[in-house]
């Protein structure tokens, strides 16, 4: 198995780039006409794109788009999903029934099909990408939280808390949530990989962030038109994307072993959305 600090280093490096991108001396949108489609050279490592913009600078700025969307979507869907799942499971009855039926409906759309349709109908833009991907992602967390809480509800310490008259919100906050945190964190780490691919996928289809903002997905899209003369336009953002997704998957696997989460089949990676 790969040493965990290699993928950890990759992620931290990209996260740092994403965080510092606005402060770095980058010119992702400067147009240098004589250099249109020229490949990498010692002066400009990754060459120029079809408008004469430096691919390296766009790659770094694209990391910011990826990470922004990933954190926003995973944050929103983790909070909403686990909240709904916990409430449904703890309350039981018709509330739970409604939740399960609603989850079933959202699960009936395979992969990011619903996100594609939503982003397509609402129009492109980073806000709409976050909304579209969150609408798809929350179900996973809700389902997991619900299953965890259902089994946690019957534990002795929860029965004891009920017996001494602790209020339900307090039981959930103090006696249930801390114990179901680990599987949710593991799910969220794999979720990051899915969302990074999801954002890039939407941008690849032209439904994501709008030009001139750089996104790895839209860079691949632009590059496919010039593949024979300028393959670097497709190869560079693809490798960056794969590096991040691969690292997140390896780290997620490690995290699962480390936190000893046993509710998922061993050694089976989470399938990325698209």
């Amino acid at each position: 198995m790969m040493r965990p600090w290699i993928p950890l280093g990759v992620i931290l490096l990209w996260a740092l780039v994403a965080l510092l991108a606005p402060a770095l001396p980058l010119s992702p949108n400067s147009i240098d006409l004589p250099h249109i489609l020229t490949p990498g050279s010692p002066d400009e490592w990754l060459g120029y794109d079809d408008l004469g913009r430096p691919v390296f600078d766009r790659l770094l700025v694209g990391a910011r788009t990826s990470f922004l969307v990933a954190f926003a979507v995973v944050g929103v869907s983790l909070v909403i999903g686990s909240l709904l799942g916990t409430i449904g499971a703890y309350a039981g009855g018709w509330l739970d029934l409604v939740l399960v039926r609603v989850m079933d409906v959202f699960l009936a759309f395979p992969g990011i099909l619903l996100a594609i349709a939503l982003a397509g109908v609402m129009g492109p833009g980073i806000d709409n990408v976050v909304i579209a991907l969150s609408v798809v992602s929350w179900v996973g967390y809700a389902r997991l939280a619900r299953a965890q809480v259902l089994s946690m509800k019957e534990r002795d310490h929860v029965h004891a808390a009920v017996a001494i008259g602790t209020s339900p919100p307090r039981i959930i906050a103090r006696h249930v949530l801390p114990l179901i945190g680990a599987p949710l964190i593991v799910e969220a780490s794999f979720g990051m990989a899915s969302v990074v691919i999801g954002e890039a996928g939407l941008s690849f289809l032209g439904l994501g962030v709008q030009p001139p903002t750089a996104s790895w997905g839209s860079m691949i899209r632009d590059g496919t038109r010039y593949m024979l003369v300028a393959p670097h336009m497709v190869i560079a953002p693809g490798l960056a994307l794969m590096g991040v997704v691969l690292s997140v998957n390896v780290l997620g696997d490690r995290l699962r072993d480390w936190l000893d989460v046993k509710n998922q089949p061993q050694n089976s990676f989470k399938s990325p959305l698209p």
């Binding site: 009936a108 099909l113 594609i116 289809l205």
Partner: protein, 310 residues
């Protein structure tokens, strides 16, 4: 008992489909501003605008629109394409064979890669073979379709010239899209086969087979794989859904004239009725596949059909 299971599964699926229909109906209402104006552009003539509004039923209250939509759906009337002016049902039927062809080919590719890889990893557990198989699977799930496709085009079509760049003409044009779509599934399946094989390896009948002097190859393929594949085959059914959504991107990359590329084309043309109908078509087929998988599983495993599972 089985009949009861069948009926309850069918009713649940029907409820889900109804929910999907509702959600898809509201898609059109998520278009920012006036959908008619978005579809026709600002310079449209008032007469055209009124005609489209009439055709989409947008001048009526929402509940009337919904009833009309449901009534049309119950007669398999999916509406008319705003772009090509043809019935959407015909468009879908025209595109369906290409998507089915691609899906079946991708499934074959996935099985051809996953079965040997999974067996190898299980039989040689803990060795370099196992680590390599794990690595390959990890790469398989981490390469997005929209990058794998262009890379295969670059190498297989532009550099080597073995396959056409895009389109659907003959078997050669099917190879690259099927590889693109099948790889992620192959990665996931190979892990399932590995863990199923590892469980089987400890069974008594495997020891018996070895004990009576059968060749190792026969033991693994005839006694091991046959039993390990049973749960895997039913899981393939669930993974077909991932294949359906992967098809949207893969078909777009290769200009494959299927249902997936129809969604994206319709979005770019702002042909919202087609977007609605196609999304509805894909997700109801997904629900149907899930039900069929459940039934197949129940049919194979009597414990499920006799109700020891919820």
């Amino acid at each position: 008992m089985f009949i009861r299971f069948l009926i309850s599964r069918f009713l649940t699926a029907l409820a889900v489909v109804f929910g999907v229909v509702c959600l898809v109906f509201f898609l059109l209402h998520l278009v920012p501003g006036d959908p008619v104006e978005v579809m026709l552009g600002e310079s449209a003539r008032p007469a055209d605008r009124a005609a489209l509004q009439q055709a989409l039923g947008l001048n009526q209250p929402v509940h009337v629109q919904f009833v009309r939509y449901m009534a049309n759906l119950s007669q398999f009337d999916l509406g008319t394409s705003f772009y090509s002016k043809r019935p959407i049902r015909d468009l879908l039927l025209e595109r369906l064979p290409a998507t089915v062809e691609l899906g079946v080919a991708a499934l074959l590719v996935a099985l051809l890669m996953a079965v040997p890889l999974g067996i190898l990893a299980a039989v040689k557990k803990g060795t370099a073979w196992d680590v390599a198989a794990t690595g390959i699977a990890l790469f398989g799930v981490s390469i997005p379709n929209f990058w794998m496709g262009p890379m295969l085009i670059l190498v297989g079509a532009l550099w080597l010239g073995w396959f056409p760049v895009s389109g659907r003409e003959g078997v050669a044009s099917l190879v690259l899209p099927a590889l693109t779509l099948g790889t992620a599934l192959a990665a996931i399946l190979s892990r399932m086969i590995r863990s199923a094989m590892l469980e089987i390896m400890n069974e008594d009948f495997m020891r018996t087979a070895r004990g009576k002097g059968l060749a190792e190859r026969t033991v693994i393929l005839r006694h091991g794989l046959r039993n390990a594949l049973l749960p895997v085959i039913t899981l393939v059914g669930l993974q077909l859904g991932a294949l359906l959504s992967g098809a949207v991107i893969t078909e777009t990359v290769f200009s494959w004239p299927g249902i997936g590329s129809l969604v994206v084309e319709a979005i770019h043309r702002r042909d919202y009725p087609v977007v609605q109908a196609t999304v509805l078509c894909i997700s109801t087929s997904y629900v149907a596949l899930n039900v069929l998988t459940d039934l197949a599983y129940a049919w194979i495993d009597p414990r499920v059909r006799l109700g020891s599972q919820p």
